[in-house]
């Protein structure tokens, strides 16, 4: 499947902004059943500096500096990506979760793909006893890791309410968990916190969903914005498997991975600081079209 992705981020400021320094992570990843064909980012006003590097997690990271006074910032990212994934069946056999936990913990690498980097609390995902206890219900001793994770994902999908108005980026995990509502990012964080509470390696994935579903299928939740889901390391054989708790499904060819990290703070597509305007209005428009 090949997708054309348009991801436009706009900021409107109440007062002129004299200086902006931003970090962009807008290039979809290559690898794991996904191939980047082309990618281009247009920025207005045009930056005085643009430098590009790969961050720790392997994402192409662009640092920009804008020195011209401006009231609008527009970041227009276009990508073409081909996707070909075969997720395991929901009821596929998998090793007991305890053994996966123990193997993950023994990893001898600090690299971005090493599961050991994803078993600890991270800036936006604390390890909390109530969340761990909640997750543990899906993982009785000896349960296959896939079975446990599918069950947890399903419970989050059915017990939490999708409500874009309920939370903002700074809403703490405890509140999301207590009130049982939020958006894709919150659900991903809750699932990650629960898995890590059991000592399992869980990563945060940001990305896109196709906007128009294939004929005969319902439109998925979160298709008009950037999306987020969970990647769980399921042992040497299965490797990293992606779970979308917002839609209760194992990630296949309708998802396009943008970046992977420990939580949202590692993968934020547009981040930065500005000088001059405390008031700002953010707009994000995402359009994902299947071209073949």
């Amino acid at each position: 499947m090949i997708y054309d992705i348009r991801h436009v981020t706009t900021y409107e400021y109440e007062n002129p902004v004299s200086f902006a320094r931003c970090t962009l992570r807008l290039e979809p990843r290559s690898g794991d059943g996904q191939e980047l064909i082309s990618h281009r980012v247009e920025i207005r006003p045009r930056p005085a500096e643009r430098t590009v590097r790969r961050d720790f997690f392997g994402a192409l990271t662009e640092s920009i500096v804008i020195e011209a006074a401006h009231r609008n910032l527009r970041i227009d990212s276009r990508s073409r990506v081909s996707v070909s994934r075969q997720p395991p069946a929901r009821d596929a056999a998998s090793p007991p979760w305890e053994s996966v936990r123990d193997i993950a913990f023994e990893a001898t690498s600090l690299g971005p793909a090493s599961p050991v980097g994803y078993v600890f609390a991270s800036p936006l995902v604390p390890v909390l006893r109530p969340v761990s206890t909640y997750a543990a219900e899906s993982f009785p001793p000896g349960t296959g890791i896939l079975k446990g994770a599918v069950d947890l994902m399903h419970r989050i999908r059915t017990q939490f309410r999708y409500d874009p108005k309920a939370t903002v980026i700074s809403t703490p995990l405890t509140e999301v968990f207590d009130k049982r509502h939020g958006v894709c990012q919150d659900f991903a964080h809750v699932m990650i916190a629960g898995l890590r509470g059991l000592g399992l390696p869980a990563a945060y994935v940001s990305g896109y969903l196709r906007t128009i579903p294939p004929p005969g299928q319902p439109r998925l939740q979160g298709a008009d914005a950037t999306h987020a889901w969970v990647s769980l390391w399921c042992g040497e054989k299965l490797g990293w498997v992606d779970f979308d708790p917002t839609n209760d499904l194992l990630v296949g060819n309708d998802h396009i991975v943008l970046a992977v990290g420990r939580d949202f703070s590692d993968v934020s597509p547009v981040d930065g600081i500005i000088v001059g305007s405390p008031k700002q209005k953010l707009g994000v428009a995402v359009d994902v079209v299947a071209v073949e």
Binding site: T108, L110, F120, F264, Q280
Partner: protein, 841 residues
């Protein structure tokens, strides 16, 4: 106090018969109640005093008891007057520093062993850091579990693979040590992030060595100055240009150890900077100064790694510099210690260090550390769970036990059944977050309590600085004493009292100071750059002090027996004018106008009125707190005394007036200190600009109030008093006050140092001398306004002045004050700060 005077004191104290001293010493030894089963620094296992302590107490005992108390009082007074403070977490105000009066003594041979252990450890940790953030071979080859690193919030992924600019991770390292039951020094914890305490150690040494200068000299205690000198030189050498600019990065005056940051900055000759003072430009860090952006080469940071850069680390931090990590990638600034160094403070790592030492250094560790079991490993976890009541449980990566809402280590035996079970469950599911540590009872040292000595446990922090010639160890350190006699090693994170640490040598020691050798020094007359924030604070310090003076003059005029308020209708009206001014300034409340007796007291010392003299002096004190490294100790002392005096409740008008008088004298002496003692660099100018601006505004306002068109004798008389021109007027005119000459003297007379014209002329001189930040070749706004004002005042005629002209001039002065703020302090409280972009895109 001068060194010579201290020596005189010692001689006076020595007049006591030596035999008397020996008797006292023997008594102290008899009364010293050692803790059973715990080693002691003072008494050996045989119950006899150790040699170094005998030497000390021989001399100490020769001082008469009241002399000892006098010396201790002197030390305490010095600490108070120098304003040595710290702030405990959660405190809203600074606490005075509490110094134990007896130093910790360490014999030289013992110390050398300790130094060897610390040096080896510092070197080992540097190499481990290099590996963790570099090739990561230790992890790949199984010498170090990846999880022991990955679990630390101080493992900074953004700096992985970034070589530390300047070539090192650790520039300064500290170890907390204590003496274990076996008589050896044990490492209790490593400080690799931004160790605090060196500045306090310095202050402790200054105080104690002055109070007991004779004793100090006789013990041959090596000085700490050469250590700081070596540290400073090595930071300088690490920059990539000569004469580098170095800053101490502080979180700000609310930080618990802000005093220390200021002390270090002043002592080492570095700039004290906050994140807001810095900006990234051209892949380098710059400091915002009154002369524009200036490059900063080295940052000695006292801000934790995660707060250093909101773009790549903790996004909510306001303490750092957006883009700092990117500058590190481009080798544009040296940061000491390198961000990410704090990863080695994780207790999870302790158990692996002996093997790492063999592997990386080919040596056994010279110093043992407190036995630690990391529960991430199955065997260690089982051991800890089996011996749960014998060990202390602590977080593996940072202080605090995850899952239990408690700071510091916990003893399972002290938990209730529910918490205990929760802890066991947590260790079973996420063991990697916990360590068990052996509970060691540390040795005790003598502290002075009511004429006796008594044993207390302590922890010693030893500092090591990386120099081109290897590690330099501070001879001495930062010693914290536990308040309870039976504190266990692990629960002693924060002693309430500190002690100086004397390394006692048999040989004479050199008397190096921090004055550099003359052949290395380039002559300089201007003291570096002035950060905009410091200029802003100086400006406001000047304004607060001047405003306090004006308020005190009003209080004095209103309260003095010869003043108004006490007789005729005219004087009653004048009194009401003063009251109105005080109300307008926020010095008294509206309601107290009905109770005249309370007005002066309220204007003098009401803490609830922002315009009272007390509030203004406190505002000056707060501002001065942020300028600690730039103010002389004398100036700080005067400000503190004023604030204390004004807070002392007064009963009647007379005492109000005399408190006002005394405070006015202190303000005058403060002005004198600034005038005579402050370097004539930009800093002094901003202090004076603040004073002059405020004085011009106040004088104009007084003139408007008391030299109005129909003003009578009483009014004009008050004005002359308020602007301190009685004598000048009488010597010139030999007449009762007349409107035009009084207005001329107060506003226009350029020869009168209290007149508005004089202030404006001085302001013009200052502005002309300041660095110019010309935009497009045009005259800058402050100068434009000041020159125009000066011209108006120079050409005005007293007879033709109208009240509305006076009012217009007052408005012009206020505009000038604003223009100065906007021009020189563009990132002051009113200016734009960086804002985060809204997330979730």
């Amino acid at each position: 106090m001068a060194e010579g005077a201290a020596e005189e004191n010692d001689k006076a104290g020595r007049a006591q018969a030596p035999r008397e001293g020996q008797r006292r010493f023997a008594q102290w030894v008899r009364d010293y109640r050692r803790l059973p089963g715990i080693p002691d620094e003072f008494l050996g296992p045989d119950g006899a005093p150790r040699a170094v302590w005998s030497r000390f107490f021989d001399a100490f005992g020769a001082l008469a008891p009241d002399e000892i108390e006098r010396r201790f009082g002197m030390a305490d007074r010095h600490l108070r007057e120098a304003g040595v403070t710290y702030r405990a977490p959660g405190d809203s105000a600074d606490r005075p520093w509490s110094l134990s009066h007896l130093p910790l003594l360490i014999g030289e041979a013992d110390w050398q062993q300790l130094c060897a252990g610390i040096t080896q450890r510092a070197e080992l940790l540097e190499r481990v850091l290099r590996d963790i953030y570099g090739e990561s071979r230790l992890v790949a080859e199984g010498a170090l579990p990846a999880a022991a690193i990955a679990g630390s919030p101080e493992y900074l992924r953004p700096v992985c693979g970034v070589p530390p600019p300047g070539g090192r991770y650790l520039s300064i390292y500290a170890a907390d040590v204590g003496r274990g039951p076996d008589g050896r020094w044990w490492v209790l914890g490593d400080r690799t992030q931004a160790p605090s305490g060196a500045g306090y150690a310095l202050e402790n040494r200054l105080v104690l060595s002055r109070a007991f200068s004779d004793l100090y000299k006789s013990m041959n205690v090596p000085r700490v100055a050469p250590f700081f000198e070596a540290f400073r030189d090595s930071l300088r050498a690490r920059a990539d240009r000569d004469e580098p600019r170095i800053g101490v990065l502080t979180p700000g005056s609310f930080s618990e150890t802000y005093f220390e940051h200021a002390t270090l900055a002043r002592y080492l000759g570095f700039l004290l900077v906050e994140g807001d003072d810095l900006a990234v430009s051209d892949n380098r860090i710059h400091i915002r100064t009154v002369a524009g952006l200036k490059r900063l080469d080295v940052l000695l940071r006292r801000v934790d790694s995660n707060s250093l850069d909101p773009l790549e680390l903790d996004a909510s931090s306001h303490l750092g510099v957006p883009g700092l990590i990117d500058v590190l990638r481009k080798d544009g600034v040296v940061v000491a210690n390198m961000p990410g160094s704090g990863v080695l403070e994780a207790r999870a790592l302790l158990g692996f260090l002996p093997a790492l030492s063999r592997r990386l250094l080919g040596e056994e560790l010279k110093m043992p550390h407190i036995a630690t079991w990391w529960c991430g490993q199955r065997s260690a976890r089982e051991e800890v769970l089996a011996r749960l009541d014998e060990v202390a449980i602590e977080g593996a990566y940072r202080r605090g036990v995850p899952g239990l809402d408690r700071a510091g280590p916990v003893l399972a035996s002290e938990l209730d059944a529910g918490d205990r079970q929760r802890l066991v469950d947590a260790i079973n599911t996420r063991g990697m977050d916990y360590v068990g540590q052996e509970v060691v009872r540390l040795s005790t040292m003598p502290v002075w309590e009511q004429g006796q000595i008594t044993p207390r446990p302590f922890v010693l922090r030893v500092f090591a600085a990386a120099t081109p010639d290897g590690w330099a160890i501070m001879p001495g350190g930062f010693c914290r004493i536990a308040e309870q006699a039976d504190a266990r090693a692990v629960s002693m994170g924060d002693g309430a009292r500190a002690a100086d640490v004397w390394i006692v040598s048999d040989k004479q020691v050199s008397t190096a100071t921090l004055l550099p050798a003359t052949d290395k020094v380039r002559i300089r007359r201007i003291a570096g750059v002035l950060p905009s924030r410091a200029a802003d604070n100086l400006f406001w310090l000047g304004r607060y002090l001047e405003r306090a003076e004006a308020t005190l003059r009003l209080v004095r005029a209103l309260g003095s027996p010869s003043g108004p308020n006490k007789g005729t209708a005219a004087s009653q009206q004048a009194a009401e004018r003063i009251q109105r001014l005080l109300v307008a300034w926020g010095a008294v409340s509206q309601t107290s106008r009905t109770a005249p007796g309370r007005i002066v007291a309220e204007a003098l010392q009401s803490p609830d009125r922002f315009g009272s003299a007390l509030s203004l002096v406190r505002a000056a004190q707060r501002t001065a707190t942020s300028l600690r490294e730039r103010l002389s100790p004398d100036a700080w002392q005067v400000i503190t005394e004023m604030a204390e005096r004004l807070a002392y409740e007064v009963e009647d008008d007379d005492s109000v007036v005399s408190a006002a008088e005394l405070t006015l004298q202190e303000l005058a002496s403060l002005a004198g200190l600034a005038q005579e003692n402050m370097n004539r660099a930009a800093g002094w100018r901003f202090l004076d600009i603040g004073r002059r601006t405020e004085r011009a505004i106040n004088t104009m306002r007084f003139t408007r109030q008391f030299a109005y068109d129909e003003a009578g004798d009483e009014d004009l008389d008050i004005l002359l008093t308020l602007v301190d021109c009685q004598i000048t007027y009488r010597s010139r005119y030999l007449l009762a006050p007349i409107l035009a000459p009084v207005r001329d003297l107060a506003v226009l007379d350029g020869y009168n140092p209290r007149s508005v014209a004089f202030q404006v002329t001085t302001l013009n001189e200052h502005i002309a001398a300041l660095p110019s930040l010309k935009e497009h070749g045009l005259i800058e706004k402050p100068q434009r306004l000041a020159v125009a004002l000066q011209a108006t005042l120079a050409t005005a005629e007293a007879e033709k002045l109208e009240v509305k002209t006076l009012f217009a001039l007052e408005q012009d002065l206020l505009s000038l004050a604003d223009a100065i703020g906007q021009h020189y302090f563009p990132h002051g409280p009113n200016a734009a700060r960086p804002e985060k972009l809204t997330g979730l895109a």
